[in-house]
């Protein structure tokens, strides 16, 4: 209990004085996870829509596989990406191991299935309701997919936020491919792991509180925008 109180005080102090190192770590965490979620959505949303609207052999199997990929363990993704980007690996020439780019790649791989699988479900539910009307109006599968993507946008925002949450919270992947290098690839979760291993539990917990507060703040912001838009567009 004492440690939690210490942690809350520590968190408050860190935020209050806007500690340089803290700001650097927070900004990097946001950069990496936000970039990853943008890329994952660019890949996952069209894929989800295509599977939702399309009819092709093996579709059911693909859906099961995609759903299963949501449970990819971050540490395994990290390991695989490390082996790919290592100098001894196929993409070693790129030299991006232990850089934020590698972290973005790992997190994108982690979140894209989540965005694809969940958006597939949301869009398929909407397609069931909209299908006859859209086809009657002359919408082909591509036009229908795009229309559904826009019409289910409020659900999709929640899905994208879920993806961001997953990325911002994981440590297994970014630790392995990033290396937790101070000032270069140290993000909130890896910093928390480090401070924990140094035995400085109040500081680690304090960082944890900052991280949770950050994600809460982002979610609150997104929720406000969503509500305003929903009022406007129904």
């Amino acid at each position: 209990m004492n440690e939690i109180l210490l942690a809350v005080t520590e968190a408050g102090r860190m935020i209050g004085r806007l500690d340089d190192e803290l700001v650097e770590i927070v900004l990097l965490s946001l950069q990496v996870s936000l970039t990853a979620v943008v890329l994952a959505s660019a890949l996952g949303l069209p894929l989800g829509a295509a599977i939702a609207v399309g009819r092709f052999p093996g579709r059911k199997t693909l859906i099961v596989f995609l759903n299963a990929l949501m449970g990819l363990p971050p540490v395994v993704v990290g390991l695989v990406v490390y082996l790919m980007l290592s100098r001894a690996g196929p993409l070693g020439e790129l030299g991006i191991l232990f850089t934020p780019a590698a972290m973005v790649i790992a997190q994108t791989i982690l979140i894209a299935p989540i965005v694809a699988a969940l958006s597939r479900q949301a869009i398929e539910d909407a397609w069931r309701d909209y299908q006859e009307q859209l086809r009657s109006l002359g919408a082909g599968p591509v036009a229908a997919a795009l229309t559904l993507l826009w019409d289910t946008r409020f659900s999709l925002v929640t899905i994208v936020l879920a993806g961001f949450g997953r990325a911002a919270a994981e440590v297994g992947a970014v630790m392995i491919v990033g290396g937790n290098i101070e000032g270069v690839t140290r993000v909130m979760t890896t910093a928390i792991a480090l401070e924990t291993s140094k035995g400085d539990l109040p500081l680690a917990l304090g960082l944890g509180i900052v991280l949770i507060a950050l994600v809460l703040f982002l979610n609150a912001g997104a929720s406000l925008i969503k509500d305003a838009a929903q009022r406007r567009y129904g």
Binding site: Q31, L34, R87, G92, W150, G179, T196, S197, K198
Partner: protein, 278 residues
């Protein structure tokens, strides 16, 4: 109105991608694979800025266990290794993966244990005897279990006590597979014995009921070495910058920086690059 929404989405995407732009920087830097004990002790945070100020070279430390650090270097993912397992280091060089091993500094290991001291080892000066007592009393013993320098030292010490720990361990022996700090956390909460390097112990803040029970045995000597990864095996290794780092670390200036590093007035590492046979 639909256009409005589309524009908003596009703006968000652009700003996210632009924000990612600074993620690609290319400066003068080297990658050093080192151990969790050196990272956790805070030594690098103290000496690396000095090196960067002098040479403009940024040193990026990836801290793993010794075993993992050497493995990383074998794959070519580091320019320099800075570890503390002499036998493994020499094998690394002999295998052609490293150019030359330089001694840098030493500290020592300490046996840390609970205040209640169930194995009755406190105050002893002989580690072999202490370990025999730990096994005899089946007191909880926490091992790094991660092929790190500390782990390899621990195995060596069990052997020196006449115990083949792999064959003779019981449920009292807890293998974690984690770094020094994480293992100390576990030992602290389990109230178990654990072998730690003094540097990490001094800077460790979650001691709980633990304190040093055995120290000073010559066998507990812990030597650190630094090696340039062989550019012959991996063309991209930054051999000039890497060598510059090694040269500085063994130079009088670098050695002084190491000696100056203290926590609570206590020196953690003792420079010995000039010592023959180190």
């Amino acid at each position: 109105m639909a256009l409005n929404g589309r524009r908003m989405v596009a703006t968000i995407m652009m700003s996210a991608l632009l924000a990612a732009a600074p993620l690609a920087h290319a400066e003068k830097f080297i990658t050093v694979a080192s151990t969790t004990s050196t990272e956790n002790s805070g030594l690098f945070k103290h000496i690396l800025p000095m090196f960067q100020r002098k040479t403009g070279i940024e040193v990026r430390v990836v801290a793993r266990g010794t075993g993992q650090a050497l493995d990383m270097a074998r794959r070519g993912d580091a320019d320099v290794v800075f570890v503390h397992a002499r036998a493994a280091e020499e094998a690394f060089v002999a295998g052609g993966y490293g150019v030359k091993r330089y001694a840098v500094m030493y500290n020592d290991f300490v046996l840390v244990g609970p205040r209640s001291d169930p194995a009755r080892v406190a105050g002893g000066r002989e580690i072999a005897a202490a370990l025999r007592k730990v096994k005899a009393s089946a007191a909880t013993f926490v091992s790094r279990g991660d092929k790190s320098g500390t782990h390899m030292a621990e195995i060596r010490l069990w052997k020196a006590s006449g115990i083949d720990i792999a064959a003779q361990k019981g449920p009292w022996y807890r293998e974690l597979g984690q770094g020094m700090g994480a293992s100390l956390n576990t030992a602290s909460s389990m109230n178990g014995y654990i072998l730690a390097d003094r540097g990490t112990w001094i800077s460790f803040k979650n001691r709980g009921d633990l304190r040093i029970v055995v120290e000073g045995d010559k066998r507990l000597f812990n030597q650190y070495g630094v090696i340039l990864v062989n550019p012959g095996k991996h063309k991209h290794v930054k051999k000039d910058l890497g060598q510059a780092f090694i040269d500085w670390v063994v130079s009088p200036e670098g050695q002084r920086a190491i000696a100056e590093y203290r926590i609570g007035g206590e020196q953690l590492f003792f420079p010995n690059a000039a010592e023959a046979g180190a």
